[in-house]
Symmetry: C2
Subunit: 212 residues, 2 copies
């Protein structure tokens, strides 16, 4: 696919899963074709924006009819690399870590959490939602030996940088950061801050704009 | 403040909490002044971008010296409305709902979760992290009577639209949606999709771009 290596704007990446949800809904409801105008109308977005976003995935639309829903779904999933399962480690088995381990839908999105790490002796050795909890001391070494690409960080802010260093030492490629902390990492490491605060900033500001 | 009503681009809103984390870090470390060049350098962003983002908050920088760190922190917090506590209801006391109830840092961000709702009789009547769990049937009525502005949605995707309808019926203003579903809401309702999938899309695609 020509576009496979192209860097995509983040706002586009953030909208693609929203399109996916919508497309799966209408596919389940029996619809087989959809136009950008339909998508834009339903999701209250600009049709030009939708067309541009979808163009990044490399899909070709038919004039008038639009897209084949099934093809569009799998094209977006391929583009997001959700059809390849990537192994991941999770560090920090607190409330949020457990919620993530308990969410069994991640495989649909290409994420396969194969081990969790914590420093609490009461948790180490246990299995949580079928994922074994191992001691932090083993983190770097296992990332290296198992060629793990994704580290999920669900530790308190105060521990975040320390664990990040251990992940990088092991050779992690990408960190999904749920800790409310800004991580210092070498340029080549992908960091996606999934912290509640980023999303909450959008919510509280928009609400303030609306109510004032 | 002149900019208080101005609509802000979402990418800017998403970066503001990242600046905040960094500013709080250096403030704790004893730094009292900071320039956009410092911020941009540390966070690997374009200095012009940082300057533009901060300009939205209405803060004035001093040439050469930059900003007073403490003033900048409180200006961003004001701008995000994080210095006013807003009451919120949470619906869906599963793993994720519990993680959110257990995260006691939300008050720092202006969010005060005062009740949770579920349809599981084993949960109703209990208190989870000091928040009472009430039956779903009371949701609409209590939103109305207590003038609740924010609804946090942590139910499964299949329940999301139904609960959204109940929230809107009660008069909710903003929905923080953690369910992997696209919600249909009237134009005036603020919806922020905090779903894992949005963030995961950015992570998996960037990793794919990097590894290919």
């Amino acid at each position: 696919m020509i576009n496979e290596l192209k860097s995509v704007p983040e706002p586009t990446l953030r909208r693609l899963p929203v399109y996916l949800h919508y497309l799966k809904d209408i596919y389940k409801a029996g619809k087989s074709e959809v136009s950008t105008t339909n998508i834009a109308g339903e999701l209250k977005l600009d049709p030009t924006q939708v067309r541009k976003d979808l163009a990044y995935t490399g899909i070709a639309g038919k004039p008038k009819v639009g897209y084949d829903v099934e093809v569009l779904i799998s094209t977006i999933e391929d583009f997001l690399n959700w059809n390849n399962l990537t192994d991941a480690f999770l560090v920090g088995v607190g409330n949020l870590g457990m919620a993530i381990l308990g969410y069994n839908g991640f495989k649909k999105y290409g994420l396969n959490i194969i081990a969790a790490f914590d420093n609490d002796p009461a948790k180490i050795g246990r299995e949580i939602h079928n994922v074994p909890v191992l001691p932090i001391e083993k983190l770097s070494d296992l990332i290296k030996r198992m060629h793990i690409h994704i580290g999920i960080l669900t530790v308190p802010a105060t521990e975040a940088q320390k664990i990040t260093a251990l992940m990088i030492q092991g050779g992690i490629e990408a960190i999904w950061n749920f800790a409310p902390a800004s991580l210092k990492v070498p340029e080549e490491i992908v960091v996606e801050n999934a912290g509640f605060t980023t999303s909450l900033a959008v919510l509280t500001r928009k609400l303030a704009e609306k109510l004032k």
